[in-house]
Symmetry: C2
Subunit: 218 residues, 2 copies
DNA sequence: TGTACATCAGTGAACGCGCGTTCACTGATGTAC
DNA sequence: TGTACATCAGTGAACGCGCGTTCACTGATGTAC
């Protein structure tokens, strides 16, 4: 899961590496963009970008699939960072909703290549890629669900189906965030506001449905 | 926009075509699947599937991009069909929500290759592809918005932001529907129920927010 | 310290492959008379 | 009806290209003594 490569080995004999695993990953990241997914990368292209001979990549990765896994893991780390940031912001005056959306948009700006990987490979990658992305999203949903439940307890509001609510928010934010990669940056603020409103709708809806369920249940 | 090819020309002189434009499109569709996007299709591969020589494709399409556009247009037609079906179902006892979700899932089952194109190319295609998909989705959202507004008038419930509500529903249903392509069919029913619940949340939320706005506005 | 040696990161050349595209062609069809 | 001709869908061969992968290699480094 972690992106830390096993660079330090038992007996580092032989020639010293002039290029590291991370250098190759960085080169691959530079090539990715809104219109390029992992599967469009060629070994020779990555090598060219990294400034090494094509077959030198084999010294660091068994094949391009292994490089892809490393990229997805890295993207997963970036995604996890969002919820950490969101929590830190939520302690301030803004609610968790605003905090989460802000954290997401900021990550998107800073780490766009990494989130782009998740957005893209979640829909079009190999089955293995999709599964990896799905796992990262499920992790995120679980965290968000706990936060939502905590919030509902504190504010004494109902929560219709915490898991489903978390899933709806995650998927919607993720999808809408994906469109941010394709629009000019000066429209990001507007998009951000839209996302916040959408999440508010879902929260208000889950509370309304919970209240309705309680009422009819009694 | 239409997928009808100009097969009937002014003076159809010369040898009769043994293969049609639609045959080639059908061959391309056969090659697409959950793990294959339009951009992964090769001209030779499509030709092989269609049973013709590679360069024969040039008789029907300027290049593969033109074939891709035809595929996307076809997918757009399929998407539009959803809202038509949803409306027909909505007149019966089920609400428009259930109707829309049902129509979507049914389309997904019947036309999975076509919806797959929209789901995939919306995220990973060229800018032109993404724009084409975005246009289809916007069209869908506009229709849904009108339906929502009509519904709100009839039931005399509020509607916080019809456009945004329609967008949230569309994007969420679309994204969740996309995951259906990757899971076994016996789980489709469960997914369908989840989607319906999510949409209900959004609707309940938009009504709750509208009520709140009215109250605080007075 | 010096020397012989093992390790191994990176290299350059070569391979076979599928690709998009081109070219001149073939031969079935419709038209003109 | 018959014949000569124009049209043009589909073809087979060939091209140059970038690809992944292999191979034997080079030479810098660390280790053993």
């Amino acid at each position: 899961m972690s992106s830390t490569p096993p660079t330090v080995e038992a007996s580092p004999q032989g020639r010293k590496p002039v290029i590291s695993r991370d250098d190759i990953i960085a080169a691959a990241l530079k090539l990715l963009g809104p219109n390029r997914g992992i599967s469009t990368l060629s070994l020779r292209e990555v090598a060219r970008e990294a400034g090494i001979a094509p077959n030198s990549i084999y010294r660091h990765f068994r094949d391009l699939d292994e490089l892809a896994v490393a990229l997805i893991d890295l993207a997963g780390d970036s995604l996890r960072q969002i919820i950490v940031e969101a929590r830190q912001r939520a302690t301030a005056e803004h609610g968790v909703v605003q905090g989460c959306a802000d954290a997401f948009m900021e990550r998107l700006r800073a780490d766009d290549r990494l989130l782009n990987i998740l957005l893209r490979e979640g829909k079009v990658g190999s089955t293995a890629f999709k599964d990896a992305v799905e796992r990262q999203l499920n992790f995120f949903e679980e965290e968000l669900k706990l936060d939502l439940m905590y919030l509902a307890t504190v504010k004494n509001t109902g929560l219709y189906d915490p898991g489903l609510t978390a899933k709806a928010i995650t998927r919607l934010v993720f999808t809408m965030g994906g469109t941010a990669l394709d629009i000019p940056k000066d429209k990001h603020d507007e998009l951000s506001k839209q996302i916040v409103q959408m999440v508010r709708m879902i929260i208000a809806g889950t509370q309304a449905l919970a209240a309705f369920k309680t009422k009819s249940g009694l």
